[in-house]
Symmetry: D2
Subunit: 330 residues, 4 copies
Amino acid sequence: MLFILKSNSDPSQLVEKIVARSASYRVVDLYGRRIVVAWPDKLVEDIVDDSVEVRVKSSRPYQLASSEWKRDKTIVDVDGVEIGGRSVVVAAGPCAIEDEELAIEIAKAVKRAGAKMFRGGAYKPRTSPYSFQGLGEKGLEILKRVYEETGLPIVTEVMDTRDVEKVARYAHMLQIGARNSQNFHLLKEVGKSRKPALLKRGMAMTVEEWLLAAEYMLLEGNGNVVLCERGIRSFEKSTRFTLDIASAVYTKTVTHLPIAVDPSHPAGRRDLVEPLALAAVAAGADMLIIEVHLSPEKALSDNEQQLTIDMFEKLMTRLKAVAEAVGRSI
Amino acid sequence: MLFILKSNSDPSQLVEKIVARSASYRVVDLYGRRIVVAWPDKLVEDIVDDSVEVRVKSSRPYQLASSEWKRDKTIVDVDGVEIGGRSVVVAAGPCAIEDEELAIEIAKAVKRAGAKMFRGGAYKPRTSPYSFQGLGEKGLEILKRVYEETGLPIVTEVMDTRDVEKVARYAHMLQIGARNSQNFHLLKEVGKSRKPALLKRGMAMTVEEWLLAAEYMLLEGNGNVVLCERGIRSFEKSTRFTLDIASAVYTKTVTHLPIAVDPSHPAGRRDLVEPLALAAVAAGADMLIIEVHLSPEKALSDNEQQLTIDMFEKLMTRLKAVAEAVGRSI
Amino acid sequence: MLFILKSNSDPSQLVEKIVARSASYRVVDLYGRRIVVAWPDKLVEDIVDDSVEVRVKSSRPYQLASSEWKRDKTIVDVDGVEIGGRSVVVAAGPCAIEDEELAIEIAKAVKRAGAKMFRGGAYKPRTSPYSFQGLGEKGLEILKRVYEETGLPIVTEVMDTRDVEKVARYAHMLQIGARNSQNFHLLKEVGKSRKPALLKRGMAMTVEEWLLAAEYMLLEGNGNVVLCERGIRSFEKSTRFTLDIASAVYTKTVTHLPIAVDPSHPAGRRDLVEPLALAAVAAGADMLIIEVHLSPEKALSDNEQQLTIDMFEKLMTRLKAVAEAVGRSI
Amino acid sequence: MLFILKSNSDPSQLVEKIVARSASYRVVDLYGRRIVVAWPDKLVEDIVDDSVEVRVKSSRPYQLASSEWKRDKTIVDVDGVEIGGRSVVVAAGPCAIEDEELAIEIAKAVKRAGAKMFRGGAYKPRTSPYSFQGLGEKGLEILKRVYEETGLPIVTEVMDTRDVEKVARYAHMLQIGARNSQNFHLLKEVGKSRKPALLKRGMAMTVEEWLLAAEYMLLEGNGNVVLCERGIRSFEKSTRFTLDIASAVYTKTVTHLPIAVDPSHPAGRRDLVEPLALAAVAAGADMLIIEVHLSPEKALSDNEQQLTIDMFEKLMTRLKAVAEAVGRSI
């Protein structure tokens, strides 16, 4: 149950009533409102209190992430770049940060082509311990240099609760990868950081589980969550993953949070990235996150699916046309 | 191995050589060429014959459906409507044919909105024997009346080898449904009919299996095959099926056959049909097949996902904009 | 709604009442009872008639296949072999019938080892048109000879509605393959034949859909249906299919029909067949269907997964031990 | 490449040669052998050194977990309980630790019935932040008391890199849950702890990915890893998860590590647990991990699937019979 408080009202009496019924609660400040979340519903649903402007009993297990209490779409501000508004935000950059000069060169090129954010991994979750594991903190420093040189806000992955504070010092948006999408301690730490978060959907994660993972962050008072569809596991192996565009579309109908799409990972091959990116924007994605490299064939990871600069420029031109066709811009 | 013959050449000597090596073969006429298909490769790969213009050893198990021997995209002509060209073809109509007057009214409405073909089921594959099973031959007669009234070519499903000839007398394009996508006897009969065919992808069918199912028809000399992605089964249940847009895109890179997308079945809900239809066109679909009804809530099947006429008209306007944005028309 | 009639009572008045309410109905004789099935429930649930002994409103969409009206397990009699009783029935034989002498030799060997039925394909559903398609009617004649020589009842696949009558003349049990598991016309024809049927589960078929496919046969008056789990499609490719032992176990709790398991297809490799067969019997399977060949490496299909006679003999010894451990015999 | 060293030999020259070729390496002590792991293979495959007894180039990406270099099955010793030997080890206990008295009572009961280890969650990964999250450190203290009272070694989940040291002080075996199965930092920390580890398979994890996750721990020198199959995500929803018994069986053929099966989570319902447990032992599982509660209907989590003591006792009797039938004991 969400008790949305009147401005400047004191929740202490309400909290007392909740505690008196042995219910659990959390007081969170989100989107300019103070909200007392209390559960389970059945213990608190008859509580009346002067501090409450409106109470919302959600029909869905994710209460704060649900559009039932917040009908307007949330806009997540990442260092001035607005995700969730009329404009579709493109974040681009290499899979992994490998070298400072290279990173800056890619960043400048994607910025010229219209990207509004830079992506690149310093900590890399790799299936095999024998694969390149990322540069770690050195990679974060390179990302900082990219920001200084180009002004593009940085989104990068954090994999370990112990690293959240550090990564948050360098990046403007924290990515939680598909493999950590139900690492609940990590979700809580990123929630506490209040940093904008990009929550990738797990490979076998239902939409409901995805929104409950977001709920972990919202419940810590972090409303700056963008949900990113990146392909699920299915029986089909002709592409790397199965881009679940229908779930992305469905998700938009049940949450106020913006939806991003990563067309690079499901494609698994650079020639399939463009049609998937176009499809995502046509279907209503608020953000795209695309892997781009100067010389993809030399990249230390995901070298099959990273676009060349040339391909990215052409893609941006086509993306703009499709965005306009559906009443958006890029 | 494909032996593509010179014009007006006689394959009899080539066939003799194939038989002499105990290999199998079939002589087919496709797309204006006479082709001798022989297998297995290893028995026939050193055969030389004067009748042969070019021989193609496919790296893929589907030889005739592969783009390796035919680089230009195939255009399937359905009573004058071209599928696979610059223009994206929209086929629309009710899930099932229920009534003549109703069918004609829907057909006129979708035609006005820009549909180029009419869809509607006379034979309905229903999960439960207690569900409406379609009107059968009476439904076919109604479809004939729709064509007479509107001039829209008809695509309708055939479920039984015993019905192929009959359905082919009424319809312009034979649909093979997802549940019959590996009903190999049915594929052969539809192949023999030479009628344009719409081959829906099975719910658990890999792209390779899909193209091999098409190969069954091509090997009977029927090159008029359109492949239709309609959603696969995955773990996710927030939508009815998982529209596998990435496989549709991948499939276009390995075959010359046109690709259709059915956004209605994966959506399962009419409000999700539009974004999926837009995504399909942005991704490069050559055809859309969409369920539309005058009063969907009264329909005898799939009533959740059929669009109203009003929704269909709005969809067509947006589809045209997206089609133009990617260099196509509707 | 199931109206189970008193012995020797006349259903005509009941049927009149059903028709008067515009409901649908079917009179079927199953397991020694006459049953009037009427639907939809809401139109007929207040009907009272003297002919009715008991009426059962099923909570599940499959009414006749449900254990709600028939609590005792059904025993399917195939030429004297009882499937569904205390004894676990093993059907064994080659994937495809290739040669008479070979077939008879395999049959004799599997009989010696304890198999009670012979399996072998005359009509083969093959993913590729370039694969061996089976001997067809010639294969059926070989199967007849196998029966004459060994007395083992025959189970073999029927793929086409046009072949049901013919196959039924030669075989004792008709197999409906995974790819035809929702070929509803075929299900109806096999239902009408009244022959014992082995209904393989489709690769992406839910348990509910599987039981509704069985319902198509029961509604034609054929109660001799055995359900066969043979592996579903999942993301995992280290085995050919994913044997869904949990669904087989669940299915036993909702239906009175016997459950078979095919360990050969999910294994895809002969060394994995034994542990899966043992698991199936431990979990409660009523029947196993296992591919066995004299020289698997020379087989024209599925040569990776067919057991040698030697492996089959060892398997039978271990199967007997496990069957006894769970209170069954072989 | 694995360089397995002679006893008491000095790896320093070998390491120099590896470094000279710009390859990566790690020196690990596993199963009484000192091994230098070096990669990529192509840089090191011609290295010859006196310290090396044998070198193994694995055909699989998981080198240390592969049975190619270690043919004998690994036995993991958990406080005297041997997992991977002739005897099948049953670990039983409640889903979550809720109360000391209750935990001890359950432990005594499962011990009486033949369980050799106690399971119970102090840290609980819950899909929803509104669900019971476990007692945390207080739960660990209860587990310690259970051990003191019963002598049953404890297996419990660790979810956060920051908690590994603490949980390792209380537990005898660290469980890595399905949702953290690719939390690579956690895998490394558990690897460094050298504590026996139970690695649950992720819901969409391939066998190869599972073994590579184990490899992360082996590469830290922790060879005490047991792999636990607990059901994957498939399209089928009649059971909670799809127990992938075939993959468990396959995995045994490619690794020397023991295989555990958790029948409780795929079942999702207590009446399905027994047949799945029997199937697992028949198929060759080395360990079972089963949820048991005194009053499952009152449990704070997973209350549908926990067995009663009575059910567990009956299960153990049947398990013993099946284990004996396949040449094992319990």
